[in-house]
Symmetry: C2
Subunit: 111 residues, 2 copies
């Protein structure tokens, strides 16, 4: 047993990604961001669907074609279908933002 | 977008289970318990593996063969392998306990 909000580093030069579960069809990750955002102009375009929830902190997630990003606070969750382009516009620099992400669909694992 | 800690009923005669994601290989559920426990002598014996996290509240989870249950507080997560018998010994009656459960492996969906 471990805790999703434990072991938060005091400083975080890059996003911290930890794989919690990996199986042929699902991968569960904890992602910790502190002020990180996707690189300018970069869009995620994923083979897998991703269900993601913010557990702590705050973030803004933008889907391609949307005028405004979604503002996510703890407990907010969203399903990102495979190949739905999206980017993280902002995470709060004030504290770590902890995301829980479940990737599933074709080849969610790294095998 | 919705919130995992939103829409918590004021009273809860039975556990509340909501399916958030359902696909052929993964099912994500939010489960809300308020003082609920597994029936006396009942053990879950599941075809799927289950990764579960407590997001709010408190619970005690017992694995068959263990002397003592695990005490789970918000953020605590545990992987329950398929067919590992377990039961919920207790959830706090003081407030709703919100679980997030990801079922995966053979026939995680209800198809």
């Amino acid at each position: 047993m471990s805790n999703l909000c434990g072991d938060l580093p005091a400083s975080l030069p890059e996003e911290l990604v930890e794989v919690l579960v990996e199986s042929p069809h699902v991968r569960i990750e904890r992602i910790v961001s502190t002020g990180h955002a996707s690189p300018a102009g970069y869009w995620y375009d994923q083979e897998q669907s991703e269900w993601v929830v913010v557990l702590r902190g705050e973030a803004r997630l933008l889907f391609e074609g949307d005028g405004e990003p979604m503002h996510l606070v703890p407990g907010d969750h969203v399903l990102i279908p495979a190949h739905r382009k999206h980017r993280v516009e902002w995470t709060t620099p004030e504290e770590p933002t902890v995301w829980l992400a479940v990737f599933f669909g074709a080849h969610a694992g790294s095998y």
